[in-house]
Symmetry: C2
Subunit: 354 residues, 2 copies
């Protein structure tokens, strides 16, 4: 049977001050209509894949549960060890329920504009994973030569909407990104893929043997003693696991990878400037997610908590974010540099605002 | 005997969002060391003039009393009717205590950098008011051709540091301001003046006869029934009084005005840009009255409530103010236009933020 798996880790420094240690990016209400990214992801995943398991870290679990409701299917890792361990733990949980489980894995904090296309592409990837027992990545057709993303270089066509993967390309420099996008045949790696749970565990055993052994022990504890025993064993084993991503640890090393290309209106909401791509603007080009007054202000992105007001006079191309006890002002073109502000706050001993 | 009188009206729209209807400009902690402007003014006035009466509107009285302490000498007008009525009411109160009272009148919301010079100049003005029974304005030697202020055109020299006043000049246009400052002999009208209380009441009777009559009735009630009777009479008479400033209503019309020039480091804190004139800047030219991180940010003015943080990345010459539930961003050079934002909020039905 088909399942969704959502990877809800922390992070999102570039979306400070909305994103905090206590409220990381998946919990931000940046999806259309004011939904959180994780709630929108869960809704999409259930539609495209089926029953969906959310994997998160123990420290985030209460907030995730509060957001998704008490009947959500949530699995908490004792500590975060990046996505390879999280995908493996999800595969263990799915296998215990259904040895033939095929899973579609989704990051919890992205935006998809074209949900019908998304549903169709995910279904195609799941079908390919079922029929060929392969790992099937979803590749996003690039809309710009973005150096900030990983790329998938496509190989031969294997069927309608199904390609072989020649290789993964790490975040390229600007020139390499430009030539890849110009040449075609290179898609963005959106971190979404389908795979039989059993195959995934085999790949982890082969490429990340320490992680594989730990997952076997957790699976054994789950079979023998149920969820509580599995959680206790995970708490013992997790701290020593390598923190490595599923891309670096497995997908880049696995053989016979497949890819389903898609035009999904995908956006990783990687920085505040992304809001201009996913939210409508007013006639002056301002994206407003705040009450307030904009006087002779153009092309700004404005965000504030409910019950707060932001006034801009005579400014252009700024990101202005009020969230909780903090305010951020940065030009849209430099939105990536919010990380520098976060680092400066940390260096100044102002961690309480992070 | 000499007395100080502080006029603590409301207002200060250009200092929104710190300045609100419920917390107008005199109550903002913008004096050095984080004192409120009114507390700093009271301290200066007591030093320069003597016992000091604070005149404020009834709606502001609780906040003013909370700020200045229970033993402060405060007189509340039932409603605000601009400064002519306030100065007149102060004169009535002083006369009842001391028929020979000479008062020095100060706006409650200005900044003085050179307090020793201020004390000396105020003492000189009070002495001249005592000896000549005149209204003696303090004129501030201009440091720039500012069109936003009223000017005092000086006449003949009457003694050391004492000049006749030829006329008052309303806020000039930029060209007129430039030629006045270039020509010399024109000082800024800072709204500070000394005068015998009795002489002030005579001038009001002559130039603002309605106000003069009302003040006489309030004085009679005070003599017959004390402060409570006077307050009751004022509550009856005030609503019908003309709302006119002491400058327009009296000083511009009175004869034989005198002026004591001074270089006081005077600043009317008329807009956020003024903070750059009264507060020290960091090596990058940023004036910081807020916790936070400034990354590649130059020449900004940053203000926030205690317990709030502001981060700026890659911006220059901005005013960024967080106060209560509101945030303002405006270029320093356009700080006067905050009024437009306030008007826009009002027009949008967002009065609750004003």
């Amino acid at each position: 049977m088909r399942y969704g798996v959502i990877l809800a880790g922390g992070g999102g420094t570039r979306l400070w001050p909305a994103s905090r240690r206590a409220r990381p990016k998946p919990l931000l209400p940046l999806a259309p209509g004011g939904a959180t990214l994780i709630a929108a992801t869960l809704r999409r995943a259930e539609r495209a894949a089926g029953p969906t398991l959310v994997v998160t870290a123990a420290e985030m679990e209460p907030a995730v549960r509060a957001e998704l409701g008490s009947d959500a299917w949530i699995l908490a890792e004792p500590v975060g060890r990046n996505t390879a361990a999280a995908v493996g733990l999800a595969a263990v949980a799915l296998m215990a329920r259904d040895p033939d489980a095929v899973m579609a894995v989704f990051p919890a904090d992205h935006h998809i504009a074209d949900e019908d296309a998304f549903t169709a592409v995910v279904a195609r990837a799941l079908a390919a994973a079922e029929s060929s027992r392969a790992i099937v990545s979803i590749g996003v057709v690039p809309t710009r030569p973005e150096p900030g993303f990983g790329y998938i270089e496509l190989g031969e066509e294997l069927g309608p909407g199904l390609r072989a993967v020649r290789r993964f390309v790490e975040k390229p420099d600007a020139a390499a990104a430009l030539s890849m996008v110009a040449a075609g045949g290179h898609l963005w790696n959106a971190g979404i893929f389908a795979c039989p749970a059993e195959r995934m565990l085999e790949e982890i055993e082969q490429h990340l043997p320490d992680t594989g052994r730990a997952l076997s022990e957790i699976a054994a504890a789950l079979a023998a003693g149920g969820e509580e025993a599995a959680a206790a064993r995970a708490a013992e084993l997790y701290p020593a696991l390598p923190a490595i991503s599923i891309d670096h640890g497995v997908l880049e090393k696995a053989g016979d990878l497949l890819c389903v290309p898609g035009e999904l209106g995908w956006n990783d909401v990687g920085a505040w400037s992304a809001l201009a791509e996913i939210e409508p603007a007013d006639p002056d080009g301002n994206v407003r997610l705040a009450e307030g007054a904009l006087v002779d202000a153009r092309g700004n992105i404005v965000l504030a908590d409910p019950g707060r007001v932001v006034a801009l006079v005579g400014v252009e191309g700024l990101v202005v974010v009020q969230a909780g006890d903090a305010v951020l002002v940065v030009p849209r073109a430099r939105a990536q540099e919010v990380r520098a502000a976060v680092a400066a706050l940390e260096a100044a001993g102002l961690d309480r605002y992070l």
